[in-house]
Symmetry: C2
Subunit: 352 residues, 2 copies
């Protein structure tokens, strides 16, 4: 029987509540589709930081390295600055495991409500492919003349040929093999005149390898506007680390699914484990109440199974989520229901 | 009688069609409210570039310097790369005249249609204040190892204390004196860890001077989502050059007014002329047909009059636009009507 080793990091806040539901559904899928999940739990979180001064132990990355995938809840808690919590856990995993693709589906699920007027599920169904290791999130920068009138800070955006080409290739492959053969590139070469024109240049170069794929490109400002006005234009949208970040929150927002959106941090070569996490954060305001919506976590689990080669199981989970939503199954408050986190998880697990 | 010297640059494409309508309405307002406009026309455009190899003559900036304001149509034309057209005209004016505030109203006008469900004019009424001279639009950067595997590009984002403080001050003053006393800051300090935390620091510092102003801040990704989900949360939103650019397209998009939005590039100290321009571009696809909507240009004219101290006239123009829209006056195609550019301009001018 096939076996997949999963490192589980619930993290902070509602991550602790949604992760068990994700696992419940994964377990149901494993039984139904005949594979084993070998789970290793890590309680790394802002509490670990409070206790030890570190988000994870010194050998943390080594311990994760042998897993096939990492299943993450959420990271961050009030009182612990982001540069500690995120840069001590989330960002090093993305970078050191070279998870250079951040993949986020933007879909209007049946039964969910988009804030847009007159839009149905057929209108919003695309992927954002985000570069996940370089670009605007760079470690080069600093401050000069602190505390004086001439104080300034600077930070470099860095784009390498290797980094840009591989994420573009992923986007084109995705469009070609699993989607409707259209790739849209996010740019801002009219304002950001060194890095963005290079992105455009590599995009044009990569497109030559995929003559069947239709391409277009928009500056990020008008592209955001188009997400609102014409979400039906898009199939695969590819952008830099920052632009991809923005678009992969805006996409789920227009689809009315920001609370339930899933994301995958992928190392396509499988040299390192990939990581799967919901788009939502640790939500301190509702943590502890067990009312958080677990669908984002469960959907992330489906993306993980697809990455692990369990496509049938992945499709089944997604279809189950859609069916229960459409049929009026249990919903948490954010979707207008009364159910708790566990109710929703159980309903989906049972239906799987 | 008060006199204002205006430099008029229609520019390219529909800019040539909307600018005369802007002037028609300005002229009507001048007659009604008793001031003079001394206009100087400049035909600088991509055609100038085709003829002379430059977007404007060498002494272009000097010629503009003595005007009280610059009234711009649109810049850019297919075949002329942005780094020529924009960086040869628009960007130098913004920078050399230290127009460090880019101000854009985001309003759902009565009679306009928002793409959002269930939103009326009372829900969408805020300003985006964008830093307009530094930040991500920097001139420091380059490419190394061209044509090889290790090729990379880099570009520095630069934020100076002077640059950040003055735009924040403008935002707080605006909130305090002309708005509902709330300022929202756009940040991304969890990912962009040198420049953005500095922005946050200066924002917190500036807020101390305005104890009556309510503040909040969001990372740009979730802020874009909130624009779609909760546009009613905002009053004055302040952001860096790039974030302000994104938000000031997204704001009008959620308000259904991206085709008619106005913008002001302001040098608040009036050491240099400020520049007023519609948000839309030169729209090559409809240029020459005289069907472009002139409202963005006319609204920009109203912002210009406000800057020149003609507040009554500015209010009158805006109220007239609103009234004609609400009453079903002539509309161009983008707003579901049949009228041409000139029809709309004339109707507004006559009503003023
Ligand atoms: C044309 C471009 C350089 C410009 C900008 O990004 O500043 C435009 O998008 C704007 O917002 O005025
Ligand atoms: C938490 C933050 C650093 C992160 C990012 O911007 O990458 C988040 O917004 C995301 O999209 O996963």
């Amino acid at each position: 029987q096939r076996k997949h080793r999963i490192a589980v990091i619930p993290g902070d806040g509602i991550g602790k509540e949604t992760t068990p539901e994700g696992l419940r559904v994964l377990d149901a899928a494993a039984r139904r589709f005949g594979f084993d999940l070998e789970l290793t739990h890590y309680d790394w979180s802002c509490e670990t930081y409070a206790r030890t001064g570190k988000m994870m132990p010194d050998d943390g990355m080594d311990r994760l390295r042998d897993s096939d995938s990492i299943f993450l809840g959420a990271v961050g808690w009030p009182g612990v600055p982001d540069h500690v919590s995120l840069w001590g856990l989330l960002i090093p995993i993305r970078r050191q495991f070279d998870q250079y693709v951040n993949l986020r589906p933007c879909r209007l699920l049946p039964g969910a409500k988009s804030p847009l007027a007159d839009r149905g599920p057929a209108d919003i169904d695309f992927y954002v492919v985000r570069e996940n290791t370089e670009g605007e999130y760079s470690s080069i920068g600093g401050r000069m003349f602190p505390g004086t009138e001439r104080e300034f800070v600077s930070q470099q955006t860095v784009m390498t040929r290797i980094g840009v080409d591989r994420v573009l290739r992923y986007a084109f492959e995705l469009a070609m093999t699993r989607r409707r053969k259209k790739v849209t590139s996010a740019t801002k070469s009219n304002g950001i005149t060194f890095t963005m024109p290079y992105w455009d240049e590599r995009f044009a170069e990569m497109a030559k390898n995929y003559p069947e794929v239709t391409t277009d490109q928009f500056h990020i400002d008008i592209l955001c506007a188009h997400f609102v006005q014409h979400p039906d234009w898009f199939d695969v949208v590819v952008g830099s680390n920052l632009f991809g970040d923005i678009l992969s929150d805006l996409g789920p927002a227009v689809a009315g699914s920001i609370g339930i959106a899933a994301s995958a941090n992928i190392n396509p070569e499988k040299t390192f484990p990939s990581m799967f996490e919901p788009v939502h954060g640790s939500a301190p305001d509702i943590a502890g109440k067990w009312i958080a919506n677990p669908i984002g976590q469960i959907w992330s689990g489906a993306m993980m199974l697809e990455h692990l080669g369990e496509k049938e199981a992945a499709d089944c989970i997604l279809a189950t989520i859609e069916r229960l939503l459409a049929e009026g199954g249990p919903r948490t408050r954010d979707m207008g229901g009364q159910a708790g986190t566990v109710d929703v998880g159980k309903a989906i697990a049972e239906a799987v």
